[in-house]
Amino acid sequence: MSLSLRAIRAGYNEFRLRDVSLDIHAGSFTALIGPNGCGKSTLLKVILQLLRLEQGRITLAGQSLAELGPRHLARQIAYLPQHPVAPPGITVEDLVSYGRAPHQNFLGHRSRVDQFQINYALERVGMATQGKERVDQLSGGQRQRVFIALCLAQDAPWILLDEPTSFLDIKHQYETLDLLAELNRDGKTCVAVLHDIGQAARYADCLVVMQAGQVIAQGNPESVITPELMSTVYGVDAHIYADPVTGTRAVALKSNRGGVD
């Protein structure tokens, strides 16, 4: 049961993912890292069929995603966009309830199973008592948890997240990542675009490094995060050390060589 990308070509404007082949294993916490504009978000959009595939093939457990159709795809993979939209005035529970759409008929009738999943999702992210509050009046961290609850209500084994920690302060960044790690332990496969390499190494068990539309490294954080990689991908002279708290890989810069990005 894994998500396989084979010789993917896709993109928009001038940008292209070029010949991306990749296997993401079910049950993993995979982080996509790389400099700005390297194609991390594009990769997620291609998997979700938000962007048309020009070449290549994506399969989930052997089945082609293109043939799966949007509804069945939505039952397998949930997605948190980088800038999710909350219509003005919507309540937490109403927003989360839309996660049930792939399981409902076109009238959106809410069954008992639906209500159970919605309550479960709210509880899981610690928003059970705030179901009636308005999303536009929540803090950034709470908002993010509501959108994760939306993904949970969808009850899909995979969750793809596009920079879930950007625009959050440091406390809420770690809170969000802790929540994802918990969900991962309970069996969800998490694939997240992350900016902070230290956070990626700390939370993910698999890193995918991208540069200029290509995957240039994949593996566990210990094998992937090296001074050589930091130099080729980010153009920085880095010292890699063990995080004093977790023992995972962390990065400190010696100096910026500049002009390489």
Partner: protein, 329 residues
């Protein structure tokens, strides 16, 4: 579905405005006469003015107002654009072009076919806007500008046709182009009420899909919505709603823009409430405008469309000024 208080209040306002519209005009009638006539309290003796002139006219006003409002609500949601409306993206002008072309080139065409001509013209405009939106991914504001330009282009063709074609009376089409209910009666109502009722029902059934599309393309796709297909279906629905209204009462400006905005301010954005509220608001607006137009400067009638534009154009400018943040398509 529980009956919402706000919808109940709007329904009462609509009934009051409808009654008022039956009372006023060249011959003022007292409310007892109106009620006696409507409910046959005096036996079958009917008041000719009410039954043959004012009642069908007011019902048409309410029906087309509701249709334009629904059309506007749909267009605003699927284009993720608060500035959109069937008039502003050129659908109404397209419908007008269809009707004028058909009635000038084929003067013997039965009036039933005018709806068809309106729908073709409207579909032309909507199709162009949709292609631009889906294929070129233009920004919301540019889409509006393109729609406005398209509308002006269609209007230019209409004016051109009116000028060059000989032996046609221009005053009829001109009154119609300004959105007037003058002289309309039961026959006009019977042509459009059934198709409009069906379209109302279909729109109501799709309110949950509209909710999902309102979350934006990325979110909707990831929730299993076939976005392009559903947008196209809903745009077709909006086009038909607008075209049927235009074929009956002409180009009624800004109702499709104002009514959904007022409705959102009243009940929020969930379409299960928003759609009926917008339809009621649109119905009230057009019935009110038509009635005011009848009594504002007697014996001359001011077209309802002129009055809706009179309120609507400043309204549009206010939204433009408030709408600083652009919504992503």
């Amino acid at each position: 579905m529980r009956l919402d208080v706000r919808i109940a209040v709007l329904s009462i306002i609509l009934i009051v405005v409808l009654c008022w519209s039956l009372m006023v005009g060249a011959v003022p009638l007292r409310v007892e006469i109106v009620l006696n006539t409507l409910f046959e309290l005096d036996g079958p003796r009917q008041n000719f003015i009410i039954m043959q002139s004012r009642l069908p006219r007011s019902l048409l006003a309410a029906l087309t107002g509701g249709a334009l409002a629904l059309s506007g609500a749909i267009v605003q949601t699927i284009l993720s654009n608060d500035l959109a409306s069937p008039k502003i993206i050129g659908i109404n002008s397209g419908a007008a072009l269809g009707v004028i072309t058909a009635s000038l080139l084929l003067p013997t065409l039965p009036s039933n076919y005018l709806s068809l001509a309106a729908a073709s013209g409207a579909a032309l405009a909507a199709g162009l806007v949709f292609l631009l939106f889906e294929l070129r991914a233009v920004s919301p504001t540019r889409l509006i500008l393109i729609g406005v330009a398209l509308g002006l282009f269609f209007e230019a063709i209409v004016n051109f046709l009116l000028i060059i074609l000989p032996n046609t009376s221009v005053s009829g089409p001109l009154i119609w182009l300004s959105g007037s209910l003058w002289g309309l009666g039961w026959s006009n109502l019977t042509t459009i009420w059934l198709p409009l009722t069906v379209l109302f029902a279909v729109t109501g059934l799709l309110s949950y899909r509209l909710d999902l599309l309102r979350l934006g393309r990325a979110q909707a796709v990831s929730l299993g919505v076939h976005v392009r297909r559903e947008r196209l279906a809903l745009l077709t629905l909006a086009t038909l709603l607008a075209a049927l209204s235009v074929s009956a009462v002409g180009v009624m400006g800004f109702v499709g823009l104002m009514a959904p905005h007022l409705a959102r301010a009243l009940v929020g954005w969930r379409h299960q409430l928003l759609l009926p509220t917008a339809a009621l608001t649109g119905a009230i607006l057009v019935t009110f405008a038509d009635t005011v137009g009848r009594i504002i400067a007697p014996p001359i009638e001011v077209s309802a469309g002129i009055l809706t534009a009179f309120i609507g154009a400043p309204f549009f400018i206010v939204i433009l000024l408030r709408n600083r943040r652009e919504v992503q398509p």
